[in-house]
Amino acid sequence: MGRVLNILDYALCSLRRKLLKNVSVFAIFTLVIFLFCSFQLVSRALTEAAEQLLTTAPDITIQQMSAGRQISIASSTKMELAGIFGIKKIKERIWGYYFDESNGANYTVIGMHAPFSDSPGDRLPGLSEGRLPAPGERGKVVVSDNIRNHLQLGSRKHFSLFRPDLTQAGFETIGLFDGKLEIVTADLILMTLADARDLFAIPDKFVTDLLVYVANPNEIETIARKISLKLPGSRVITRNQILKTYKVVFNWRSGLGTICLLTALAAFVILAWDKASGLSREEMKEVGILKILGWQTGDIIFLRFCESLTVSLLAFLTGYLLAWMHIVYFDGILFRPVFLGWSVVRPVFSLAPSFSIENLLLVFCLSVVPYLCATAVPAWRAATVRADSVI
């Protein structure tokens, strides 16, 4: 232990002496790690946000497909599923996109039968003010603050949207979605089923999807399988599958970003090899003196290892911390577009990734490990300076 501490102490002094060279390596390494970490943390934060938000999604969603495209599904399809044991409830939903020509925004319109939240497990996004439409009410909607701004409502509550035949449908905002869930509600207009049917001119007895709620969460997959057998032309999606898909998408984008950053890492590793390989006459003399005074080759290798480890660990911690601050305090501004894509109605939300040892280990292995491997051979070369070179 004494030997380790002594050599570590010598290594730290050695780093201090070659400050410029080491600071440049440290700075570039920190940047590379910052980029890696930012990607990982944004991906993680979005995955966690998606996990949290998907608790509002139904257990199973049924959509009708024709020629590979979604079409409306008959409400009477509910009757065909009546015999499946374990289904607690089936609700109808109409949803679609409304394109607002005045500002080029796409709103998501969801219409469901009121009351919207009449049982546990039927969780809708919360409201910051107002109420949800009551059963039988027409023309009442709940919107987000974002939409209210896009529609330029100000203190007004009434606005109109165009039906397909260009007649206007009038609406009154009676509630406002909570800002906490803006990632989901930023472009959402919630209304009754009848209003949505009227707005999109969808025929009676037809809806866009059926939402299935199951009594026992462990039975979701089984029931979904049964539904898909009963309704062969339909698409049956579980909440778990939606979450998995989001995870795959975020992981995929994170992976793509990592691949791109690998080129930066490779360039850095080559730089590190180059910097470590160059032995000045002074350094050669120093190693020769140490060898002749009784330092083993292994001691010199360990000395160089301590130097590399110190630089890389410091860079790792600094890069990670900076990435964290970038995500938490600056909302991951550098990489959000990569993950969130393009949108006029862009949700405003904060990312708060949880700390994870696994994530730390992942970035550590992507950064510090290649660096240490790159400096292994130069460390050995330095250690094999012969003792008789100083005589």
């Binding site: 002594n6 009784g294 080759t297 003792a387 005589i391």
Partner: protein, 229 residues
């Protein structure tokens, strides 16, 4: 004998076109507590002889025993271990590390042995006191005079308490007075029971009263191996 070389040969680049026979079946014996002088012109094999005595490398053939340890055909890490235990070096160019202080230079051999900072400083203080340079302990070595540097170098050579001191041209950059001082210090080490091998052309060295013998090396062979008298 404390340093015992029998028919030692050293060949560099053996089997290659640039093969050089630096030492040819050299035999040498130095008793414990003796001080001897090795002389020879440049390229004579004197440095090679010193390197073998100093456990820097093994001979190509022959038998070499230093301080009771056989060093013929030893791997480098064994040589290094014996060198650390047995040999203290004093160099012509001092071979101090410029960016370290006198204290740090002197205690370098103890770092890799895992000796704690307090013990290192205590040992160093004792030696610095002995050689009269305690007041320079925190100075960088490039702030010292030639005489002070050589005293610091001798202190470093003694930090591990080795039984053998190998000094290569210790008086090369010193004037007559300082040269005599250095030789008196080395002779005092001999009086302590250490074996001292000094390589030098300087007559102040070869004629020093402490010198037990002169070894003259020329073209890889020992021409003269005689007591001073």
């Amino acid at each position: 004998m404390f340093i015992d070389l029998q028919a030692v040969t050293k060949i560099y680049n053996q089997g290659q076109p640039n093969e050089v026979i630096a030492l040819k079946t050299v035999s040498l014996a130095v008793a414990k507590g003796e001080m001897v002088c090795v002389q020879g012109p440049s390229g004579s094999g004197k440095t090679t002889l010193l390197s073998i005595i100093g456990c820097i490398f093994s001979p190509t053939s022959g038998r070499a025993a230093i301080g009771g340890k056989k060093i013929s055909r030893l791997p480098d890490h064994f040589l290094t271990r014996y060198r650390r235990e047995l040999i203290g070096f004093v160099f012509q160019n001092y071979n101090m590390i410029d960016h370290l202080t006198v204290l740090e230079n002197i205690t370098l051999p103890l770092l890799a042995l895992g000796v704690s900072p307090s013990i290192r400083e205590r040992k160093a203080d004792h030696l610095l006191e002995k050689f009269g340079i305690s007041h320079r302990k925190k100075f960088k070595v490039n702030q010292l005079s030639g005489g002070e540097l050589q005293r610091a170098a001798i202190a470093r050579a003694l930090i591990n308490d080795p039984p053998i001191i190998v000094a290569d041209e210790p008086t090369a950059h010193l004037d007559g007075k300082l040269s005599l001082e250095v030789m008196d210090m080395l002779a005092a080490l001999k009086e302590e029971g250490r074996t001292v091998v000094v390589a030098s052309h300087d007559p102040i060295v070869s004629r020093h009263h402490g010198m037990a013998g002169i070894i003259e090396v020329r073209d890889g062979v020992i021409l003269l191996n005689k007591p001073v008298g």
